[in-house]
Structure formats: C-alpha cells, structure tokens
Amino acid sequence: MKEVGDFAFVTDNLSKSYGMVKAVNDLTVSVSKGSIGLLGPNGAGKSTLIKMLLGLIQPTSGQFRITKVEGSGSYLDKVGYMPEHDCLPGSISAVGLVSYMGQLSGLPSDVSMERTHEILDFVGMDESRYRNIKSFSTGMKQKVKLCQAMVHDPDLVFFDEPTNGLDPEGRKEMLELIRDVSKSGKTIILSTHLLPDVEYVCKDVMIMNNGELLLYDSLKETLGSTNLAVRVRGDQERFIELMSGRGFEARVMGSNILIGGNATSKEVYEAARDSMVQVRYLSHHSRTLEDLFLQLVGDSNE
C-alpha cells in the first residue's frame, strides 16, 4: 500500500459488502490534496466510501490511510465531516453545539468559543446563533453542520450532499462557502449527484458507479478536449465504424454523433465520403461533465 505522503488519502482494495451487494468494490486510489468532487448516481457507493474513511463503518476487506497529525490521538482530529442527513440535536443553540464539538475535537475551551464565533460569522449567521437549533430552517441547519465540521480547522473535509434541500439562493451560498474553504488550503471532498455543484467548486473529479471508481482526474484535463458534433444522412453505423477505425472515439449522443480525439472537419468529411454518407450538420462541441458522467455511468451499466 502506498504511503499517504502528499495525498489526502490512499485506499488499497477497499471493499464493503452488504450481503450479496458490493457497495464499494476493490477500490484502489490515491487521492491528491485539493478540491475533489465525488460523483455518482444514488447507490454508487459514495456515502459508503466516506463512512469507511471516517471509521463509521468497517470495510469488509482492504485498507485505507489518511494523514495523521503528529501528536494527535486520532487521524479524525484533522478531518471534518458534514453529514447529508439531519444530525443536529434540537435543544441546544448553534453556539453551544459548535463550541461543544470544537472541544470534543481537541480545541481548548476558550479557543473553541473564539473559533465558534468566527466560523458562525464566516457562514453569516447573526443573532440566531443563540437560538435553539430546532427553530432553524433547513438552510440554517446546513450552515451549522458546516460550522461543526470546520470549527477544529481540519485539513480534510467531507461534504456529503451539502446542498440537499436548499433553495437556489441557499445552494449558491453553500457552494460559495465550500469554495472559500477550499481556497483556504483545505482538501475538500464534495460528494453529490449534482454535476453543476462539482463544476462550480472542484478542480478534480472522481466518478463512481456500482461501487467502482470509473474516473479520477483533473476536471480541466477531462473536459479540456474538444469534440465535433456531426449529423449525417445515410449509414450512420458505417460512418461511426470508419471513424473508430481511424483512431477517433465516435459515439451517438441524442441525434448527434460525437467525435473525440481532436478530429478535424477535414477528417470527418473524408470519412463521410468513404462511408457514403452525407454530412448535414457539423459543429464544435465542448464536452461537459454531464456528457462525461452519462457516458461513463452508461458504459459501466452495460
């Protein structure tokens, strides 16, 4: 197994099974520090992976490693977690809870209170911080969840579906907060099934489906290549075969054929001539995260 070193975490054949179902299947990956979007459809294994890394559930097999801070008792001392579901006790104020969580994470009492107010200022919570959490709206609860995850200044933070249940304005605000946290030098893992959230916040992307890792790469690199979108009249299958035979990735998406591998229009026209089809439409098409996601997930489901 690789040393953690400069990585945020490293896993080695990490698996988790529930009976016959493999929630995470032999996952081996070394995740670099930075902002990473963890994408996947429901049931892909994202939350299971996070819960294993947090020690909430035990792996069936394999192992993982997260950097441990020297002198601290547990690696979790420098890890933060914002859970997806509601997890806040209602009969305590936001200040009380966040400060308490800070102290449990190892902050001295006075430091914890100071940081609690700082982080509540950071998320923009006003005097309502002194009210009991049970009177809070979903947006405010999400902010408190973020605060309790950040109060002890972790190096690695897991955000599990942080924009769930938020209105568009609240969602934008939450994403900006997460982006600001990322800019402060923290490694963030943003688990979501909302692709625009990842595009807005993250530099790298991990895509999972059926417990397996389909992709882990830089978002810029992945989406950087430009495709051509083509519509033809005639034997479409033959055209695709020919383009593939010439080393270009060609596949049908909707009514278009997307051609990757930096093919030029000249090469498309040549292939059209050779396959006896007529080009009716040709344009540049930048690959979106949605294209990539649908392609990878679709392929893995086949």
């Binding site: 909430l56 601290s72 008792g73 547990s74 859970p83 994470s105 430091v111 002890h152 946290v181 402060s184």
Partner: protein, 274 residues
C-alpha cells in the same frame, strides 16, 4: 449579517488531551440530563419523602449507626430510584441514535470506547445523586450528631462501607440496564417505560409464581427482591428467603453483563444507523 465580511481563518495550536475531552463530554451531558424538570422533580420528591425524615432521625444519637436504618431506606427508595433512572437516563444513547447526533461524536476523533465509557460514567454520576449521596449525607449527620466520636466511627464504619457497596451495586446495575435498553430500543419513552415495567412486573411475576407453587426461589424473578437479598447480606441482616444469597447477586451481575454487551453490540458490532 454579510458573510463576506468574515474570512475563514486557520488555527494552529496543540490539541487537548483525551482526558480533557472526556471531562468535557461527561460534564456537558451530565448537566443536560440532570437539569431537566422531571429529574429535579423526582429528586425533590425522593429527598422530601424519604431522605429528609431520615436526616432528622439520624440526629438522634446512635440512630444513624443501625444497619436496618439504611437497609430499609434503600428498600423504600427503590421505586423512586427506578423512576429517576427512567426519567434521567432513558435517552442517554437513544437520543443520539434518534437525532443521529452519534455521527457527530464518532467523527470527532472521540473513539467509540470513549463514547461508551463516557455514557456509563454520566449515568453512574447521575444515579449516584439518588443512590449514594443520601447515604453519605445521612451518615455524616449521624456522625456529627454523635460529637464526631472516633471510636463510634471505627465501630460502625462497616455500615458506611455496606451502604456504599449497596449504592454502587444498584448504580452499576441501573447504569448498565438503562444504557442497554436505551441502545436496544433507540427511543427514550420506550426505554423509560421498559425500565419501570421490568422492575415492577418482575415483582408481580415473582408474586404470582410464588403463590402458584409456594417455592420461595420464585422471588429470584423479582429485581427488587434480589436487591433486598443482596442488601440483607451487605448489612449483615437475616435473610427473608431460604436460598443462598449468591444467587440474587449472580442474577443481577448477569443482567448487568448482558446489558453491557448490548451496548457493545449496538455501538461496535452492528452497523451504526447513520
């Protein structure tokens, strides 16, 4: 407030020790549970109806150095102790499962062992207010009322020891039973009701069984009678039953061990309901 006025700031410093975090956890939870109005009400009732009259009695010379005096106090207090346990301790683990805040504790570098140990300590300290503190208060008053005689203290120190052992035994039993039921049932109302039902119903069941076959070993089905038997042994009193006094002790110990395993199972073995 405009959040953009505030920037995220990093923190560098040394983390506190495990012991410090444990004391934060215990004091925070302890304050929360004993400050509830029901907890205060049961405490006031118990002290007003049972402890205060005994405090006045203990002011009579020599009265406070009689083992029957303390034995009967525990006998009378038993239902109040159960009521207090139901009111104060029933949500100790169930509430964390119900509002799912257990996830917050277990992702904070605060280990499961520490969580369980902390919860048991909280219950032990909370229950001590009704199981051990009255004994200490009454014994101290009896001692003061007897002009702090050292020879009297030397002769009767065993009564204090027996009382402390009895109080500790009840407290440990109730702490494990409450924590076990709380993690098993995951709901504070059911836990409270079960605690009360187990204590009261076990007495009724024992009574019915005894009336059917007349064998006084049937009283071993009653939690209260088992404690009574253990108490009579500790306070050096005659047993009201014919069987050996080791059995009730073993029954209570068995229940405590089973309940401790229940907590271990739900926190360590079973997948957490997160």
């Amino acid at each position: 407030m405009n959040r953009f006025a505030a920037k995220y700031r990093n923190w560098t410093g040394t983390n506190t020790t495990f012991g410090n975090r444990m004391s934060v956890f215990i004091s925070h939870e302890l304050k929360r549970i004993i400050k509830s109005k029901w907890s205060i009400l049961v405490l006031i009732l118990t002290y007003a109806l049972i402890v205060m009259p005994r405090i006045f009695q203990a002011m009579t010379p020599m009265m406070g150095f009689n083992s029957t005096f303390y034995f009967s106090m525990y006998d009378e207090m038993f239902l109040f102790i159960i009521l207090y346990a139901a009111v104060v301790g029933s949500g100790i683990i169930a509430s964390d499962f119900k509002d799912r805040s257990i996830v917050l504790y277990l992702t904070k570098g605060y280990s499961r062992k520490a969580y369980i140990l902390g919860k048991f300590t909280i219950l032990f300290l909370a229950f001590s207010l009704i199981t051990i503190l009255p004994l200490v208060i009454i014994y101290s008053i009896a001692l003061i009322s007897s002009d702090l005689s050292l020879s009297l203290l030397r002769e009767n120190l065993w009564i204090l020891g027996a009382g402390l052992a009895m109080g500790t035994f009840i407290t440990v039993f109730l702490s494990t039973l409450t924590a076990g039921l709380s993690s098993l049932l995951g709901d504070r109302r059911y836990t409270g009701a079960s605690l009360f039902a187990i204590s009261v119903l076990s007495g009724i069941v024992a009574d019915v069984l005894f009336s059917i076959n007349g064998n006084d070993m049937m009283w071993m089905a009653s939690i209260m009678d088992n404690f009574s038997m253990v108490g009579s042994y500790l306070f050096r009193l005659d047993s009201a039953y014919s069987y050996t006094r080791a059995y009730p002790f073993l029954i209570i110990l068995g229940i405590s061990v089973s309940m401790s395993y229940m907590v271990y199972h739900y926190i360590f073995r079973k997948e957490l309901r997160t």
